[in-house]
């Protein structure tokens, strides 16, 4: 068996992918469940659930996944046991306390398989539905998002892993020394804490960030566990820069995984080797740690990827054959939970 680094693979449920079969109704839960179960059987690291604001144009409702992503994640968590589940949630649509709490809860529900995908691209349309018709300037959005993410991570660490005592006879449910207030007072938010959800089985939900422009890189380097980048032809953040930034913040080079977003073309079934080439080349040249494969929620497309492309990648020694642990952090080779 070939040794060496293995690539990380995520699939993004992307309703409006070029591969989408034409359909009037959105996919139902049963279809999405089968999709995610198939991805789990294939040993993929995680599924990313998009959470789009209303698309421009009137016919959007019929083409979206008809679920909000965090609620969908919770339901999917009960019918899977290994695969990571990451939901997008916007810093405009939520308050940091509520978002931290929702994801902490999802992480307990999934036994440590949850992640939050935070996009750094403001959607002006979304702001108009959340009582901010004037929107945010790009700079305000960035400073606000940075503060937001810092609060969420702080709340996730409010309870030590051994805080809960469950001491029925002694009447001590938790150890007060092991609960920490956040007491955050910042430019945009003031949050006292603590969260009313227990510490995650993997320490913290995985933080996935995307949509990074140059000034966002510091934020990502400080906080992100996973960074999604577009293919390098597109201007934007570069993996090497990101890792350098992360080092500058005292994080180890392996503490942030960079996944490159790839939309396989319609030729996937015909030439799986070409897709494998397209993934192997940037991975071997260390441009990324793996890939985020955009897919419509259609089983046939996932079937092609799993049955044709994955065996080819395994033959080339690029893919692990089974889940190394129980949590999403362990799949990704990140510290936390299992690793402690």
């Amino acid at each position: 068996m070939a040794s060496g680094a293995k690539m990380h693979l995520a699939v993004s449920l992307f309703p409006e992918s070029a591969l989408s079969p034409p359909s009037d109704a959105g996919p139902d839960f049963t279809l999405l469940a089968r999709f995610v179960q198939k991805a789990e059987t294939a040993g993929l690291d995680m599924v990313l659930l998009a959470d789009s604001a209303p698309a421009a144009g009137g016919d959007a409702p019929n083409r979206q996944v008809p679920f909000e992503a965090t609620t969908l994640l919770a339901a999917l968590a009960t019918i899977t046991s290994r695969i990571g589940l990451v939901a997008a949630a916007s810093t405009v649509a939520h308050q940091p306390y509520n978002l931290a709490r929702r994801f902490a809860s999802l992480d307990v529900i999934s036994h440590g398989r949850a992640g939050w995908h935070a996009s750094m691209v403001p959607d002006p349309r979304e702001a108009t539905n959340f009582s901010r018709p004037e929107g945010f300037s790009r700079d305000d959005f960035r400073r606000r998002a940075e503060e937001f993410i810092g609060i969420v991570r702080g709340l996730w660490r409010g309870w030590d892993a051994d805080a809960l005592l469950f001491d029925q006879r002694g009447g001590r449910f938790f150890d007060p020394e092991k609960m920490h207030l956040l007491d955050h007072k910042g430019e945009f938010f003031s949050v006292r804490g603590p969260l009313n959800v227990a510490r995650s089985p993997q320490d913290m939900p995985v933080l996935v960030m995307s949509g990074l422009s140059e000034p966002d890189m510091e934020i990502a380097a400080r906080f992100a566990d996973v960074i999604l980048l577009d293919e390098p032809s597109i201007a934007g953040a570069k993996p090497d820069d990101l890792k350098r930034h992360a080092l500058a913040f005292g994080r180890s080079p392996g503490a942030t995984k960079v996944l490159m977003t790839v939309a396989p073309g319609a030729d996937m079934a015909a030439r799986p080797d070409l897709i494998a080439d397209r993934l192997e080349e940037p991975f071997r040249s260390k441009s990324c740690d793996g890939f985020n494969i955009l897919m419509p929620p259609a089983l046939s497309v996932l079937d092609d990827f799993v049955d044709l492309v994955l065996p080819e990648l395994r033959r080339r020694g690029l893919l692990r054959s089974d889940y190394p642990g129980a949590t999403l952090r362990s799949h990704l080779g990140l510290a936390g939970g299992d690793e402690r």
């Binding site: 469940a33 698309a55 979206q64 909000e68 609620t71 306390y97 929702r102 529900i109 036994h111 227990a198």
Partner: protein, 428 residues
């Protein structure tokens, strides 16, 4: 054909290790409930097998107790966030309604409408939203530096919030083709990006029993959750609320009033009493007094002699209805702070019934037939044992009397409640 008898609605109110403040210390309570999703799945299946109308979850966006030493002696500082919890349960159940409390004070209507509609789709039309305005300073401190909004402001915001959510669910808010919503607290432009609800719209539940709370319920609610100790209190609330419906062009039957009930049931009365006493013995005094003072919105109740009477209290900016209820009880039964705290800790001011299945069924029947309730939100003392006991002992007794269904009539929560597919927007 048998005559169609009016039947009561039942909610299974799930909370932490149990509704009794000391539940978690009971040897038969599941002490790790707050981190055990499988436990909740099992509770949901129990409630569904017993044909409960709904599972009901409370909510607070913060811990419940400010004093950390008190908090550390209860199991309520950690648990699941209810919308994620109910979404998980949606995938593991098929008939039972799924109702979560959510505050109008710390969320936005577009996001809340979208999230509950998503839960509604995941569950095939079984979702409900219990509207509350949040009365806790602890929560307020997680959402800014300005503190708890005054009672009247909270309700003003809640009225606008409810109107926007309902319009979104009804597909009647569309700022692209017409005017959006541009109100005092909120502005919303787009319709929701999800299909319409399988039950027309998620069910609207309301808890909050002050004058403003009742008025909002009369306008918007399909179900009202309330706390009442005595038959007279329950009846007065019931008549008052039903009487308000005509103002909004609604019929008395358009709203189901479901007070909380905290049963302690056993095969014999002696066993039931012993079970209750066993729980009461597990309450530390300081925990009981702290819980009581949090509902009374008084921070220094511990300064008063514990065996003396309740002091005079200023009007609350928090939960006015519960404060009034507690004061009334302390006067009526001439209770000391300790006695009141003990009593309150068992069910937070809700109605407590201790007895055999027949005795409990008698009590429920009396309030149901006496025009003081359309059903009950059942608050088991500890889980899973006391939910099991209610399901196995009391539900069959109610069914035998024709007071409760033996099978679900339909597939959506509105079906269970006997409502047509929703059209509520005209009232707003």
């Amino acid at each position: 054909m048998t005559a169609h008898r009016r039947q009561m609605k039942l909610g299974a109110f799930l909370w932490a290790t149990g509704h009794h403040i000391a539940a978690w210390r009971h040897p038969k309570a599941h002490v790790t409930a707050g981190v055990d999703i499988e436990h909740y799945i099992q509770l949901a299946r129990t409630a569904e097998a017993a044909k409960f109308d709904m599972i009901f979850c409370e909510d607070a966006a913060g811990v419940r107790e400010a004093d950390i030493n008190i908090a550390s002696q209860t199991s309520r500082s950690i648990g699941f966030e209810p919308i994620s919890l109910l979404s998980a349960l949606a995938a593991q159940t098929s008939r039972i309604g799924l109702v979560s409390t959510a505050s109008t004070s710390y969320t936005e209507p577009y996001g809340l409408a979208r999230t509950f509609l998503s839960l509604d789709h995941l569950s095939g039309g079984r979702a409900g939203w219990n509207l509350v305005t949040s009365a806790s300073h602890i929560e307020a401190a997680n959402f800014g530096a300005t503190g708890l909004r005054p009672h009247a402001d909270r309700y003003e915001r809640a009225r606008e919030f409810a109107a926007v959510v309902t319009a979104l669910w009804q597909g009647k808010l569309d700022g692209v083709s017409g005017p959006g919503h541009d109100g005092r607290s909120f502005s919303v432009r787009d319709p929701l990006d999800l299909p319409r609800s399988p039950q027309g719209a998620p069910v609207m539940v309301q808890a909050g029993a002050s004058d403003e709370g009742r008025d909002l319920a009369a306008r918007t609610a399909d179900v009202v959750f309330t706390a009442a100790q005595t038959f007279e209190e329950a009846k007065a609330f019931y008549d008052d609320l039903k009487g308000r419906l005509a103002t909004y062009g609604r019929e008395p039957n358009d709203i189901k009033i479901m007070p909380g009930v905290a049963p302690v049931v056993a095969a014999t009365e002696a066993e039931a009493t012993a079970k209750y006493e066993e729980l009461q013995e597990l309450i530390p005094d300081d925990v009981g007094v702290a819980l009581l003072s949090s509902y009374l919105s008084i921070s220094d109740l511990w300064r008063y002699p514990i065996d003396g009477p309740l002091p005079e209290l200023p009007a609350s900016e928090g939960m006015q209805s519960r404060q009034a209820l507690v004061i009334e009880q302390s006067r009526r039964d001439n209770l000391s702070i300790r006695q009141l705290a003990r009593h309150f800790a068992g069910a937070r001011g809700h109605w407590r019934v201790v007895g055999t299945p027949a005795q409990i069924a008698d009590e429920l029947e009396a309030r149901f037939e006496g025009g003081a309730a359309d059903g009950f939100n059942v608050m088991p003392s500890y889980f899973p044992g006391e939910l099991d006991a209610f399901a196995v002992l009391v539900v069959p007794e109610l069914q035998r009397r024709g007071l409760f269904r033996t099978d679900y009539e339909g597939s959506t929560l509105r079906d269970h409640l006997g409502y047509e597919t929703a059209d509520v927007s005209s009232r707003l």
